[in-house]
């Protein structure tokens, strides 16, 4: 499904609003949306909500032989996925431009900037190193995926092992106006994007401009100033979230996604552990089984019938009337006789349905198959079903 394009009206309105330093959600130009970090029951798993944008991140690891060129370094692998849940425009398993861009940017700001010490992941030099795999799923796309993804990746990585990571923050330009943390609609009217990753020591980890904009040097420098402020805020938030989670785990309290569901919301409902009534379960089960068992005895077990050499058939329905008989019946058929036959067949069908066993179903199936060709032949000869109706009384 393709994304609905933004109408010219909307576009103009948005640009006009930005010109007047107003944003759709009432933020100032340099404001971030609310960030919420929730850790799961597993280590290294978290959900980050940035406004309405939502991503899920899971870190996992395994022992692998290292790359030949770097025998003492562990391997970091980032896999960001644009789940079709996030936006109808995302197709599953397709390498879109956005996907390549996001993945490379993540790689660049988390691996190439060396904010994770890959050498400490080495177990035996040249033989075994840890491969850290970071899976990020975008669950809802409301702009600024890169920020949400990197916050999620960083939080999950720190949650997974130890906080040896730097933190990133970002900026965005819309035309000649600067906006921080754009939502999805703002992203659609943007001219370009400038992403700056920084750590809390005011060191820039990576810069990436994209989208065919013309930047001036002052703008870049101004963006980096804004980024440094935002970064310290976000770092603090992540640390707080980590501490909080650690504390709860230590105290043996409840944690995980189930606990983070907002209880006061009207769309949310929770139930406590509840026993399932099982008192008469055994009886009903026995009842049903017994009933089927008795009926099986009533029904005569059909014996295999040998029609011709090399074939064997089971069930009475198999006594084939239209292979041999057909030729004889073909011409002398009167309509009355025909309807009789149909009636009989439908009778026997009802009988068989009551008996609930496999063979019976099998027979009815075969019987039905018999009815149809006959009926069709009826239609062939004259008006089919009305005659059946008439003949019935």
């Amino acid at each position: 499904m393709r994304d609905t394009p933004l109408s010219n009206c909307d576009r103009l309105f948005l640009l006009k609003a930005i010109e007047e330093k107003k944003r759709l959600d009432g933020r100032q130009t340099y404001d971030y949306r609310n960030i919420k970090i929730t850790f799961g029951t597993d280590y290294g798993c978290c959900i980050v909500e940035l406004g309405k944008t939502r991503v899920l991140c899971q870190v996992s690891c395994e022992l692998v032989p290292p790359k030949d060129s770097r025998p003492t370094e562990g391997i970091m692998f980032f896999n960001l996925e644009l789940s079709p849940m996030a936006s109808p425009a995302f197709e599953p398993n397709r390498q879109s431009e956005l996907l390549v861009l996001l993945n490379r940017q993540l790689e660049r700001c988390l691996r190439n900037s060396k904010c994770i010490d890959t050498e400490s992941l080495c177990v035996v030099s040249g033989e075994k190193v840890w491969q850290i795999r970071v899976d990020i799923h975008v669950l809802n796309h409301d702009g600024n995926l890169m920020d949400a993804a990197s916050i999620a990746a960083i939080s999950a990585l720190s949650h997974f092992r130890r906080p040896d990571v730097a933190i990133q923050g970002r900026d965005v330009t819309v035309g000649s106006y600067l906006l921080v943390d754009p939502c999805e609609r703002e992203e659609r009217v943007k001219d370009g994007l400038l992403v700056i990753a920084m750590n809390k020591h005011q060191e820039i980890c990576s810069i990436q401009s994209s989208g065919g904009i013309m930047l001036l040097k002052d703008q870049v420098l101004r963006c980096s100033k804004i980024a440094s402020i935002k970064v310290s805020e976000i770092t603090e938030l992540i640390n707080k979230a980590l501490e909080n989670d650690k504390k709860i785990r230590k105290e043996g309290g409840k944690f995980g996604f189930a606990e983070s569901m907002p209880k006061e919301r009207i769309t949310t409902l929770k139930r406590d552990k509840a026993p399932v009534e099982m008192t008469d379960v055994k009886e009903t089960a026995n009842d049903i089984v017994n009933r089927t068992e008795t009926t099986t005895e009533v029904a005569s077990v059909p014996s295999p019938v040998l029609v011709a050499t090399g074939t064997a058939q089971v069930g009475e329905g198999i006594v084939n009337s239209w292979g041999l008989d057909e030729d004889e019946e073909d011409e002398p058929l009167t309509e009355d006789r025909k309807t009789d036959e149909v009636m009989i067949i439908s009778d026997s069908e009802e009988e068989e349905v009551v008996i609930l066993n496999e063979e019976a179903h099998f027979t009815t199936l075969l019987l039905r198959m018999r009815v149809y060709p006959d009926a069709r032949r009826l239609t062939g000869t004259s008006s089919a079903f009305p005659t059946v109706e008439r003949a019935r009384p």
């Binding site: 920084m198 005011q202 820039i204 990436q208 013309m214 001036l216």
Partner: protein
């Protein structure tokens, strides 16, 4: 690579250059007869080939064409023999597709695409030998090829890398300097207006040094633009001599 000294005490780099010095740049335009525009460029030991087709009707799915401007289609590839280790896939991996995207974005900013609505411009770039600064060599070569094809641009697009070692900014990094793990900044500049078409930086750098580093890269780009301009002028002279006779 801790042992490698990128900048000696005397202020010389690994290949004997001074910090702001560029590598030797050589270029030729119109190297192919069939393409609309082409160029071959050597920046030190990095060798790049760029070919431009277009503007022509949009190929493939019609839905890609834009009603108000031309679509720029870029493909970046590296020859299998371009690196010390033989490459398995010349293009299509994550890095190459990212590079293609960046080239596309750079030239979308520089080419006057609004002159050719519902059409397409193809830019194919191939690195024949990689020795650092692949992105910048590609951009420079593609600029020359676009000029050769006669496609109007706002300005030359010049790209250059810059690194930062011991509080000094180094211009135009070679492979050894790039792979050392230090800071590396790639910048594509439209020299006359001072607009930055693309900016990309890897590895850590303190915020305060950003200005110095960008300044170094921008100076290098301006230097490059003079060389490119010289190449274009010389080429035109050659062509006009041939045609006048």
């Amino acid at each position: 690579m801790a042992g490698l000294e990128l900048l000696s005490d005397q202020g010389y780099r690994l290949d004997g250059r001074k910090a702001p010095e560029l590598r030797k740049l050589q270029a030729r335009m119109s190297v192919f007869a069939q393409a609309d525009g082409s160029a071959y460029l050597e920046q030190g030991n990095t060798k790049a080939l760029a070919v431009v087709y277009g503007p022509h009707e949009t190929r493939g799915s019609r839905s890609k064409s834009l009603h108000d401007r031309a679509v720029i289609n870029c493909q970046y590839s590296m020859a299998t023999f371009s690196t010390a280790e033989r490459k398995r896939r010349p293009h299509g991996d994550r890095k190459s597709s990212e590079m293609s995207l960046h080239l596309k974005q750079t030239f979308e900013a520089a080419v006057l695409t609004e002159l050719y609505p519902r059409s397409q411009i193809d830019i194919y770039v191939k690195i024949l030998q990689a020795d650092g600064g692949n992105y910048s060599a590609c951009v420079n070569a593609a600029t020359l090829a676009l000029v050769d094809a006669g496609i109007p641009m706002r300005d030359y697009v010049c790209a250059c890398t810059a690194g930062f070692v011991e509080d000094t900014a180094l211009a135009d990094l070679c492979h050894a300097e790039e792979s050392g793990g230090g800071t590396s900044l790639a910048l594509a500049l439209l020299p006359r207006s001072g607009n930055i078409a693309l900016l990309q930086m890897d590895a850590r750098l303190h915020q305060d040094h950003l200005n110095a580093l960008m300044e170094a890269a921008m100076t290098a780009c301006k230097g490059l633009s003079k060389v490119l301009d010289g190449v274009v002028r010389q080429h035109l002279e050659e062509v006009s001599v041939l045609t006048s006779e």
